[in-house]
């Protein structure tokens, strides 16, 4: 793994009134890494992620994403990252092709680039037959894969995935992670939040957030050794109940 850091977070904090949603977190993510960002609901994952993708400003602390400061260059960050939310947000009333064209367009791809990309993408996802169908008519698993591919359209340096596998069956989840690995192997950094502890095992490194703080950060293997347990599930429970 390359040692180049694409995300550097230093004492990042976000307060909502007296409540510290994100409390002084510090970590790095390397290029091409699959970084798992775990935590119970309300632990502050989403808030932390929103600061990194430039839609929320930090209360204090620093973070550098894809070479840009989140405090001062949020707009530059947006050009260099991809984002997929838990809702697989594509437009239901647009066809597969129209969705690709639209999202390619707002990321500033030329018409030619969009055309090439979409042919490539549809072939890879086996969606050529349904390219003119409305997204609403696709099964959830397909939407999710399409949504991930769309977030990669503009070759971002980092892709942020916010609980990308919610509500999807295990086989589709497995396929999805194959896609994640493929993107990572071509140098894209993956920053993923998840609830599923088996998915945490797939990550290169994992951080566990509890009440706004990062309580643990290491490879899944080392974490299991440290806490002397067999699965990430148990690591997580130990940390949360501490």
């Amino acid at each position: 793994m390359s040692t180049k850091k694409v995300i550097q977070v230093n004492k990042l904090t976000k307060n909502f009134g007296d409540f510290k949603a994100v409390n002084n977190i510090t970590f790095d993510v390397g290029k091409g890494e699959v970084f798992g960002f775990l935590g119970a609901n309300g632990a502050g994952k989403t808030t932390a992620m929103k600061m990194l993708i430039g839609i929320t400003t930090p209360s204090s602390g620093k973070a550098n994403v894809a070479g840009f400061d989140v405090n001062t260059h949020a707009e530059d960050i947006k050009k260099n990252i991809g984002y997929m939310s838990q809702k697989f947000a594509l437009y239901d009333d647009l066809t597969v092709n129209e969705n690709i064209t639209f999202f390619g367009g707002i990321y500033g791809l030329t018409r030619k680039e969009i055309k090439e990309k979409s042919i490539e993408l549809l072939k890879e996802l086996n969606l050529e037959d349904v390219k003119n169908m409305l997204v609403a008519s696709l099964p959830l698993g397909w939407k999710q894969k399409l949504s991930f591919s769309v977030s990669l359209l503009h070759n971002p340096k980092i892709v942020f995935l916010d609980e990308p596998t919610g509500g999807v069956d295990p086989i589709t989840r497995r396929h999805f992670w194959e896609m994640i690995y493929k993107a990572a192997s071509s140098g894209t950094t993956i920053f993923v939040t998840t609830h599923y502890m088996d998915e945490a095992e797939y990550c290169d490194r994992v951080s566990v957030m509890v009440n706004g703080k990062i309580e643990a950060l290491d490879t899944p293997k080392k974490l299991k050794e440290t806490y002397n347990v067999k699965s990430m599930d148990e690591v997580f429970l130990k940390l949360v109940r501490k």
């Binding site: 839609i55 707009e75 984002y83 990321y107």
Partner: protein, 368 residues
């Protein structure tokens, strides 16, 4: 710019693929203007009445003929007894009953005075009032005809002239109102719904994470509706000119510009609504309750503002629709130009700027 064009294209896909919004956009204006133009009217035509003629002589027959030959009334039934009056009203068959007294004819000649009793069904007070006025009018006409040869002493004759709408067509009053409602509905409600839909589906988040600036997102959402609202305004004006023969005395250009100003103010309101509502349903409820009701009730569209209680008159001043209706009536009916409407236009302009500034501020706060 290219990004923006792509965005607007997407917006039109949304609109044209959603049958509901298409119906609201194009069905509503046409349906409303036709409804208000043809069906809803303050004039009376062919109102059913009954006659109870106790005297049955030449004079009463003359009056009855006069009434039945007017286009306002048609005689449904001739009654024989007082007791029938109650039951015919209860059946709802007639709006009024005219009762000629026993010696109508002889009283008229001997006493120079005879009475006709006009009994109206006042469950609908407006119609009752109008009916009794029309009957009075016909009776007075009859009296005048009979008195031609006789010197009446002295008389004060009111000579009424109804300026700007000499035939008192109600459609003249409804067109500006309907135009206001439709533009408000399309601009404010449709934009607020379409923005909240993106929030609900989670696509707003994706757009905010993209390199598109928030202002571009909002402009992209709003632009198609400006375009469609202008088309709607045109449809309404064309319909009212060609179907209802409504005059446009003043400048069409000024009417167009004022309409655009009003559209933009409604869009500002729409954006404002979308910043405070999370779901499409909330946005729709706020638009209907918060915008449509005041537009219908307090803008002077149906109920005259001058006869409202003072506090309501005050409130009506902050409703943009009130000023727009004054402007539209001024241009279409009175044919006045900006020199008479600058005050109203300025108020509307001020409101527009206010809504847009507030909604942009609110929108930024929400991003935090």
């Amino acid at each position: 710019m290219k990004r923006f064009v792509g965005f607007i294209k997407k917006e039109f896909y949304h609109i044209f693929r959603d049958k509901r919004s298409l119906f609201i956009l194009f069905g509503m204006p046409i349906a409303q203007i036709l409804l208000f133009g043809f069906a809803i009217t303050n004039e009376i035509n062919n109102v059913d009445i009954a006659i109870l003629d106790h005297s049955k002589n030449v004079n009463s027959t003359e009056v009855i003929n006069k009434i039945s030959s007017s286009k306002y009334f048609s005689i449904n039934k001739f009654l024989e007894m007082e007791s029938e009056i109650e039951s015919i009203f209860k059946k709802g068959k007639v709006k009024a009953v005219l009762i000629f007294e026993q010696n109508f004819g002889s009283n008229l000649i001997k006493e120079k005075k005879a009475t006709v009793q006009v009994v109206t069904d006042a469950t609908d007070p407006n119609t009752a009032n109008t009916v009794s006025n029309y009957v009075n009018g016909i009776l007075q006409q009859y009296q005048k005809q009979q008195n031609k040869s006789i010197d009446p002493g002295f008389q004060v004759l009111p000579e009424t002239k109804m300026m700007y709408n000499s035939e008192l067509k109600s459609v003249y009053m409804f067109v500006p109102g309907v135009m206001t409602i439709i533009l408000m509905l399309v601009s404010a409600m449709m934009t607020s719904i379409s923005i909240t839909r993106e929030k609900e589906q989670g696509t707003m988040e994706i757009l905010l994470v993209s390199p598109l600036k928030p202002v571009q997102v909002i402009l992209g959402k709003v632009f198609p509706y400006i375009f469609l609202s202008i088309i709607n305004a045109l449809i309404i004006i064309v319909l009212s000119i060609f179907i209802f023969k409504m005059p446009v005395q003043g400048s069409l250009l000024l009417l167009g510009l004022e309409s655009i100003l009003f559209i933009v103010s409604a869009l500002g309101l729409g954006i404002l609504i979308s910043t405070i509502s999370e779901t499409q349903q909330t946005a729709m409820m706020i638009s209907l309750m918060g915008l449509m009701l005041p537009v219908i009730l307090l803008s002077g569209f149906i109920f005259p503002i001058a006869s409202m209680p003072y506090p309501l008159q005050m409130i009506s001043n902050i409703i943009p629709a009130k000023w727009f209706i004054i402007i539209v009536k001024g241009i279409m009916l009175k044919g006045v130009g900006i020199q008479f409407l600058w005050k109203e236009s300025l108020i509307l302009l001020f409101m527009t700027v206010f809504f847009i500034v507030v909604s942009i501020k609110k929108y930024k706060i929400r991003l935090e």
